[in-house]
């Protein structure tokens, strides 16, 4: 049924549509570099979405927990075998992504009779020097992107753009962990609100249009609105924060921030978020 070229293109299109649907419930992931390392933040429900991969590598994910687990194990296996056979400094995010899991994800995406991976993945790598820090993102079709400074995972491309432009506007050249944490949570709220808005717009489209005023041009919500949004949602979910801390003693630089760490790091306005 997919033998003909036309059919195949159609099938890929269907697949994209199906996969896009799957991320509707997903929570965005934000990664930022700060003066002491890299911060990863998300707000999760039930299963954790941030993980340690190797001495200087962390993983953030969106999508199906089982698919994420499978890929997490592949990353762990590759990283540890390479680190043992060669050396820990030969384990780099870029090699793991480009030659490791991205081809696997792409192959699964294109094999029409098999299930694709329902995941978007972010790999953060703490370089030996700050200028070597890297953030890699991989989409469900295997396309990857390498950036520095900031990266996000979001449910749709439009939400992704909104979050990135908010970060571009709000992120100073250097920031402390406290500042990074507050900014990351606000950016998460931008993503979460934008996604809610998109859903609402789609439902509205189903009904006859009322006026010409589109909500897509809406102004950036104020900081208070964003904090209120996080606070509203934190009751039934968990704020997850992890850092790759350049100052950490020993070889493993990954550390999950515990509620106690969070409450001492977060600005007052966010305090009640952690108390939950």
């Amino acid at each position: 049924m997919y033998e003909e070229p036309y059919r195949w293109v159609e099938a890929v299109g269907n697949r994209r549509q199906y996969l896009d649907e799957q991320f509707k419930q997903g929570s965005p992931v934000v990664a930022l570099t700060y003066d002491g390392g890299i911060l990863l933040t998300t707000v999760s429900k039930g299963t954790p979405k941030l993980y340690e991969i190797y001495d200087r590598l962390a993983l953030g994910g969106m999508g199906h927990p089982t698919d994420l687990e499978k890929l997490r194990f592949s990353l762990l296996e590759m990283a540890h075998v390479e680190g043992f056979n060669r050396s820990p400094s030969d384990v780099t995010g870029s090699r793991l992504v480009k030659y490791g899991i991205a081809p696997v994800i792409k192959q699964a995406f294109e094999e029409m009779y098999k299930a694709p991976f329902i995941v978007r993945i972010l790999v953060a790598e703490l370089g030996l020097k700050p200028e070597k820090d890297a953030l890699l993102t991989i989409n469900y079709d295997g396309t990857f992107e390498e950036t520095t400074g900031r990266a996000v995972l979001a449910a749709t491309p439009a939400v992704h753009t909104k979050m990135m432009s908010y970060l571009k506007e709000q992120m100073p050249a250097t920031l402390s962990l406290e500042q990074a944490l507050a900014l990351a949570l606000r950016t998460w709220a931008i993503g979460s609100l934008a996604h809610q808005q998109e859903e609402a717009d789609q439902q509205a489209e189903a009904k006859p249009p009322t006026s010409g005023a589109g909500s897509s041009a809406a102004a950036i919500p104020s900081s208070d609105t964003l904090i209120a949004h996080v606070r509203g949602i934190a009751g039934e979910r968990t704020i997850e924060c992890a850092v790759l801390d350049r100052q950490a003693s020993g070889t493993s630089k990954y550390r999950l921030l515990k509620p106690a760490d969070l409450s001492s790091l977060l600005p007052k306005a966010f305090q009640s978020v952690v108390a939950n």
Partner: protein, 257 residues
């Protein structure tokens, strides 16, 4: 299966082998020219080792580190063939990390002990051939139980708990007796020693071992050469810097006759 978090198994699936003798062994006398020791003190466990590496009666190197940190709460002190010992430490280090990262929890202290035993058992052919015998002391702090623990092994992988102390290497017979004496008739048992006194005793013990064993390196003040001493407490492993050992050595170990 990776799901079990067994790193050694993963390596084996990829064709890795440990403990295959390099040649058909003649089983010549096992040498483990060194002195390592571990004893419990008030806050945890102290592990120390001299720094000499020898080949026959030649000193290969005088700054070897034989007390190797495996993770935040455990160290392995090695006596025996260094090539095999370092390889074992590398396997263990990666195994514990791999377990923690895949299973999202620390490997239990007993699990760590098993891992050491398993490696030694795999290494038996090389040990018997005379090319890879390792006789380690494994010490650590069991965070769950809140207590320090010491284990020593024979080359076949049998595990023994050193209740108060453990020693290994060619210089160990000398200090084994001293440890027994100190612990039984000393002013206070080893396990009651405060940190500073524990370090002084370790320096004295290694100096005694060097006195009678040519394969154990002594302290060389001119070259600022001191033994490796590590302290393991609930807070983790801590390496004692030379700057701390130097005044202790000068004030409480050196005897001016």
């Amino acid at each position: 299966m990776g799901m079990q978090g067994d790193f050694l198994q993963l390596l084996k699936e990829q064709g890795y082998t440990l403990g295959v003798p390099a040649t058909v062994g003649t089983g010549h006398a096992l040498t483990n020219a060194t002195t390592i020791l571990a004893f419990k003190y008030r806050d945890g466990v102290l592990v120390a080792g001299d720094r000499r590496a020898t080949a026959g009666n030649i000193v290969m190197y005088d700054r070897t580190d034989k007390v190797l940190e495996i993770d935040r709460h455990s160290v392995m002190a090695i006596a025996g063939v260094p090539a095999t010992a370092y390889e074992m430490v590398r396997v263990l280090e990666h195994s514990f990390k791999y377990y923690r990262r895949t299973q999202l929890q620390e490997l239990s202290f007993d699990g760590k002990l098993r891992a050491v035993s398993k490696l030694l058992k795999d290494n038996v052919p090389a040990a018997l051939a005379g090319t890879g015998a390792v006789v380690p002391v494994f010490a650590g702090y069991d965070v769950e139980q809140g207590s320090a623990k010491i284990y020593f092994y024979d080359i076949l992988g049998a595990e023994f708990e050193g209740v108060e102390y453990a020693v290994s290497g060619s210089g160990s017979p000398t200090i084994r007796g001293i440890l027994h004496y100190l612990n039984t008739w000393g002013e206070q048992p080893l396990s009651a020693l405060p940190e500073e006194q524990a370090m002084v005793q370790a320096l004295r013990l290694l100096t005694s071992a060097a006195e009678f064993d040519s394969a154990t390196g002594g302290i060389n003040r001119e070259a600022s050469l001191y033994p490796v001493i590590k302290l393991i407490t609930g807070a983790g492993v801590q390496t004692v810097p030379n700057a701390t050992l130097k005044p202790l050595y000068e004030a409480q170990v050196v005897r001016y006759v």
